[in-house]
């Protein structure tokens, strides 16, 4: 499975984490390509403090409270769990990184495996049975 992860909002990142959990249960190999706004969320200084939501924004407080009530792991933890259980590779788009002033891998949280170009995404998507855009 490949995921073109564009969103930097916690609602969509949490959904991506749930999907990753399902993929981990099935021992699927997953390649995640972190594009534009998602690269903001993957920056070290943003990952744990960014609480933006993309949709139903007027209910953000309810949404975030429900995640806590349901013991939902933070999206970074969900991604980490999946990486520990199956082969998940996370690639930061080089262009996206630069947009958010991230020039090197160390500017991003430890979940990221490398910085790549779009050609790597296209090559992986061509081979994948499932390709998601989030």
């Amino acid at each position: 499975m490949t995921i073109a992860l564009f969103s930097g909002s916690v609602d969509k990142l949490t959904a991506a984490g749930v999907i990753l959990g399902g993929a981990a249960a099935e021992d699927m190999e997953v390649e995640i390509f972190v594009l534009l706004q998602a690269a903001f969320a993957f920056k070290k200084e943003n990952a744990m403090v960014n609480d933006r939501v993309a949709e139903i924004t007027d209910k953000k407080d309810d949404f975030l409270a429900s995640l806590q009530r349901l013991n939902t792991p933070h999206w970074t933890q969900a991604f980490k769990n999946a990486k520990e259980m199956t082969n998940v590779k996370i690639h930061i788009c080089g262009f996206a990184g630069k947009v958010w002033h991230g020039e090197k891998l160390d500017d991003f949280i430890d979940l990221a495996d490398n910085i790549c170009g779009i050609g790597e995404y296209i090559a992986s998507a061509e081979e994948a049975n499932i390709n998601l855009f989030i």
Partner: protein, 83 residues
């Protein structure tokens, strides 16, 4: 003896208590714990997540394990699978 009574009489080799965690938490807990179950052994799973009651049988079938059944307790489900 009813199916539920038969299930309640099963002595599990491994119990996974995933109550209080939401999807996909229980399924991941099952996947992690299956390594602790000997071949032919039985896992008992407790989950308060409704979706898990559908996910675990489907996952077990795909992995080649036998799903033995489930019953409902107050506020959670009890499921059994045989490795």
């Amino acid at each position: 003896m009813s199916v539920t009574e038969e299930l309640k009489n099963i002595k599990a080799d491994k119990v996974v208590d995933a109550r209080g965690t939401a999807c996909p938490g229980p399924l991941l807990a099952v996947k992690q714990a299956i390594a602790d179950v000997p071949p032919g052994g039985i896992m008992e799973i407790l989950s308060s997540d409704e979706g898990t009651k559908r996910d675990v049988p489907r996952w077990a079938n795909k992995k080649g394990y036998d799903y033995l059944g489930d019953y409902e307790e107050s506020g959670y489900f009890v499921m059994y699978l045989k490795k």
